[in-house]
């Protein structure tokens, strides 16, 4: 499988605590196994306390790149929260960018306390659509809740990303990687979550 751009720039965004880092690790590790150069830049530290977090993943077949994606240069945005999809589009978007969003809003503190209003869902969905060349929306948190584990929304989204065929990775690549990564008692649940996300995206095509 070849990559359509070199470097291929993937942004993974969300809110601290949603498990961004796990995704960038799983993806990075699988790409490395396939012989790609991978660099991952990440938000860590204070921002993890409920703040906006993101990972920049840069994939190349020819050379190692630095860990940060220049503004306006994302090819794919995978986001665990819709306001964060928009934030990333504003920073990294361009007419060719593809977005996959977990449309399950998480309110910032200012909204929880009634100081700010979370953007109107329809307007938000529309803005994301208008700024993307191709969009997918799913509610992975809800799917996770149905599994009794809302936290696996991240792995559900990973399934969706792989199903979108934007990365040079197959379903099996990730399944193997997950088997290597998770402690045995959590493997089944995560494979299930991955499959749910994979199918959810495919069913939209």
């Amino acid at each position: 499988m070849a990559i359509r751009e070199d470097p291929l720039n993937l942004v993974i965004s969300g809110v601290g605590g949603q498990g961004n880092i796990l995704l960038s690790r799983l993806i990075g590790q699988s790409l490395m196994n396939k012989g790609y150069f991978v660099a991952i830049g990440e938000t860590l530290g204070v921002a993890q306390r409920g703040g906006a977090v993101m990972s920049n993943v840069r994939i190349s077949a020819k050379m190692p790149f630095g860990p940060l994606i220049p503004e306006g240069k994302a090819h794919v945005i995978l986001s665990l929260e819709p306001l964060e999809t928009l934030r990333m589009l504003i920073r990294y978007g361009n007419p060719k960018v593809i977005t996959i969003t977990n449309f399950h809003p998480l309110f910032p503190v200012s909204v929880l306390s009634g100081k700010d209003r979370y953007p109107n869902y329809e307007a938000l969905r529309q803005a994301i659509t208008e700024l993307s060349a191709l969009v997918w929306f799913l509610d992975a948190t809800d799917m996770g809740l149905k599994l009794g584990m809302p936290i696996v929304a991240n792995v559900i989204m990973l399934g969706a990303l792989i199903a979108s065929s934007q990365l040079p990775l197959t379903r099996k690549d990730l399944e193997d990687e997950m088997r290597d990564t998770f402690p045995s008692e959590r493997i089944e649940l995560n494979l299930k979550a991955f499959e749910i996300g994979f199918k959810a995206l495919r069913s939209q095509n």
């Binding site: 860590l44 204070v46 007419p95 309110f107 910032p108 948190t141 290597d180």
Partner: protein, 637 residues
């Protein structure tokens, strides 16, 4: 995933910069590592701690960075390689020792000693953007700066060898973007080390007679420079006679290479990347300066290289006097904040009169419109169920009830979030580790000058052991009037739950003696009270009472960090809900506007509070802050 000490030589691994440094230390045969946690440096020591049992090396979290470097130096004096790692703020703490250590050298039997310091440009997790390279230049300490995780591993290995060769410790400078970014690292071999430590008592390792030692520091630097001139960590790529050379270091080197490539300037621009930063390899730099007429310097944060490249150009006869040097002084790159690939791209484009557009103007416009219409910030806040939120609530109540315009001095930890945009801002002064208590000892003397304002210092448990103890002793001995509130959550939460002298385990997860903060403070002769911050009324009343008493009082608000509790117990204590009948809605809003746990949300439709089920962790404490008993809890099944 294999551990840091596994994996076959030659195979690639994905490591973040800090982990790569740790692996480099293992490949160099390090036997002892110490540090104090601090973003972006914690993973260096943490990664080594994780393989301590497997490899037989010794790793500790020391009470502070000075102690960490002292302990590591002692091991180096005794013939075993040692490492200490810290963030920039911590280097300041360790500096008193390090300056003198640089004079004394490592003694007759000295083994490699490497000190890793991680700067935090942009202050992502710090109160400063300090560039620690100046410390190397002002104190005459040799310094290396890697540009990628792979290089971080190699340079660390080399630093141990150099340290032995030159009988002095070497500094490795990293920064957030390198320390916390992940990329491919090819593993090397792990050596077998004969571990026989011996301290040669025929010597005394000391910087005294300083003048003589100062001479040897300068001589050492001169010799190190000769070695640096030939180092493969300094490399050049590009045409023989480039129109412009980018001189860069650290993560800036990958941005420089990328900028040349994206702007298609490979035929006119060369990149000289430096990995040996102090002393500057002046000969090498001068040789390249002589081949071009323009230079752009790309580095993080201050114009450090820029200053010394200019000096080199001035001193070298071969360099054209009309050479133009661009960078931070010329305004092509910013003097504040983290370096970004975009800024380098723009600077280079400007110098070649090219236009660099991140994206089409029309898209830019649409993105900006969407931002103006829809985007809101997402502030950082304490976790749901965090004991600090309850502690701050009680402090706020006590200050209000006391009514003498009292205030809080703050410190470094999760509770620092109080001064962030989404915080309560009860904290009126906040600087460095332990400074909350130090400031309070001064404020606590203001009564002699007519002030009636009471002062409270907050300080976390790890911070208390790190730097607050001397301030507390000072306050007691010099009869200051203050309350120290110890926010004791039984861990070093902010940086990832590391051990400290108050925990029952150490960095290697062995059982360890606990230093009981309450007993310790009592032994100093001050009044000490311990409360549970979730007992809001009891805590508030106690604090109010202590504020009225003279002298130094210590109030320990003790409850486990919620994230640690959850990891251990894996269950929510309560089921919590809002009784909409009792909730007074807009007339109150106490819980969401004032207490502001993210587990509570304001339902705009009904105008009442609601539990945010996906977020609430059922700690139940908001039940006690609602003045109308509208929040209800029931023991979870």
């Amino acid at each position: 995933m294999p551990s840091l000490a596994q994996g076959s030589p030659g195979s690639p691994q994905l490591f973040m910069g800090n982990k790569a440094i740790a692996r480099g230390a293992l490949e160099a045969g390090v036997q002892f590592a110490a540090g104090y946690p601090g973003t972006p440096s914690s993973e260096v020591v943490e990664s080594l701690a994780q393989v301590a049992k497997e490899t037989g090396i010794y790793v500790e979290w020391s009470t502070n960075e000075k102690v960490a470097t002292e302990a590591a130096a002692a091991v180096s004096f005794s013939g075993l390689r040692a490492l200490a790692a810290m963030k920039t703020a911590g280097l300041n703490v360790a500096l008193d020792f390090l300056v003198h250590l640089n004079y004394s050298g490592l003694g007759k039997n000295g083994a490699g000693l490497v000190v890793v310091v991680c700067d935090d440009p942009e202050g992502h997790s710090s109160g400063d953007e300090a560039d620690s390279r100046w410390v190397a230049s002002s104190e005459g300490i040799p310094l290396l700066e890697p540009g990628s995780p792979q290089e971080a591993k190699e340079i660390t290995k080399w630093a141990f060898e150099l340290s032995e060769e030159f009988n002095g410790f070497f500094l490795i400078r990293s920064s957030t973007r390198l320390s916390l970014s992940t990329s491919l690292v090819t593993l090397g071999k792990l050596p077998h080390v004969e571990k026989k430590a011996h301290f040669d008592t025929s010597q005394c390792i000391s910087p005294y007679l300083a003048r003589l030692h100062h001479i040897s520091v300068l001589e050492r630097l001169a010799k190190v420079q000769e070695t640096f001139e030939r180092s493969s960590f300094n490399w050049y790529q590009g045409p023989e006679n480039p129109e412009l050379i980018i001189i860069c270091s650290g993560v800036g080197s990958s941005y420089a290479v990328e900028a040349v490539e994206s702007l298609n300037l490979g035929k006119s621009v060369g990149v000289l990347k430096l990995g040996t930063l102090w002393p500057i390899p002046k000969g090498l730099v001068a040789k390249h300066l002589a081949k071009t007429s323009r230079v752009l310097i790309v580095e993080e944060v201050d114009p450090f290289l820029e200053t010394f490249v200019k000096k080199t150009a001035f001193e070298s006869a071969k360099v054209s006097k009309s050479l133009k040097i661009y960078g931070k002084d010329s305004g092509h790159l910013p003097k504040v904040g983290e370096l970004k690939p975009d800024t380098v791209l723009k600077a280079l484009a400007t110098l070649f009169q090219m236009e660099y557009l991140a994206r089409e103007a029309d898209y830019e416009q649409r993105a900006n419109d969407a931002a103006a219409k829809l985007l809101i910030d997402r502030g950082v806040t304490l976790c749901p169920g965090c004991p600090h939120r309850a502690s701050f609530w009680s402090i706020k109540k006590a200050l209000q009830k006391d009514g003498r315009d009292g205030f809080l001095t703050g410190d470094i930890g999760c509770y620092t979030l109080d001064v962030f945009p989404a915080g309560d801002k009860l904290t009126k002064a906040l600087h460095a580790m332990g400074s909350g208590v130090g400031l309070a000892t001064g404020f606590g003397h203001l009564d002699r000058f007519g002030s009636e304002q009471p002062v409270i210092a907050v300080c976390g448990d790890s911070t208390f052991y790190h730097a607050a103890i001397p301030a507390l002793l000072n306050a007691i001995h010099n009869k200051s009037n203050m309350v120290m509130v110890l926010l004791d959550n039984r861990t070093t939460a902010m940086t990832g739950f590391q051990s400290h002298p108050g925990t029952a385990f150490d960095a290697m997860e062995n059982a360890a003696p606990t230093i009981d903060a309450a007993k310790f403070c009592r032994s100093l002769g001050c009044k000490v009270v311990v409360t549970d911050p979730f007992d809001i009324k009891g805590t508030t009343d106690t604090l109010l009472q202590l504020m009225k008493e003279d002298g130094v009082k210590v109030l320990i608000m003790q409850r486990k960090c919620e994230l640690v509790r959850m990891r251990e117990e894996r269950r929510y204590p309560y089921k919590v809900w809002v009784d909409v009948e009792k909730c007074r809605g807009e007339k109150c809003g106490f819980c969401t506007k004032s207490f502001r746990c993210p587990g509570l949300l304001w339902d705009i439709e009904t105008g009442k509070a609601q539990i945010n089920e996906a977020v609430c962790c059922g700690c139940g404490v908001c039940v006690d802050i609602c003045p109308f008993g509208a929040i209800v809890r029931e023991e979870a099944a």
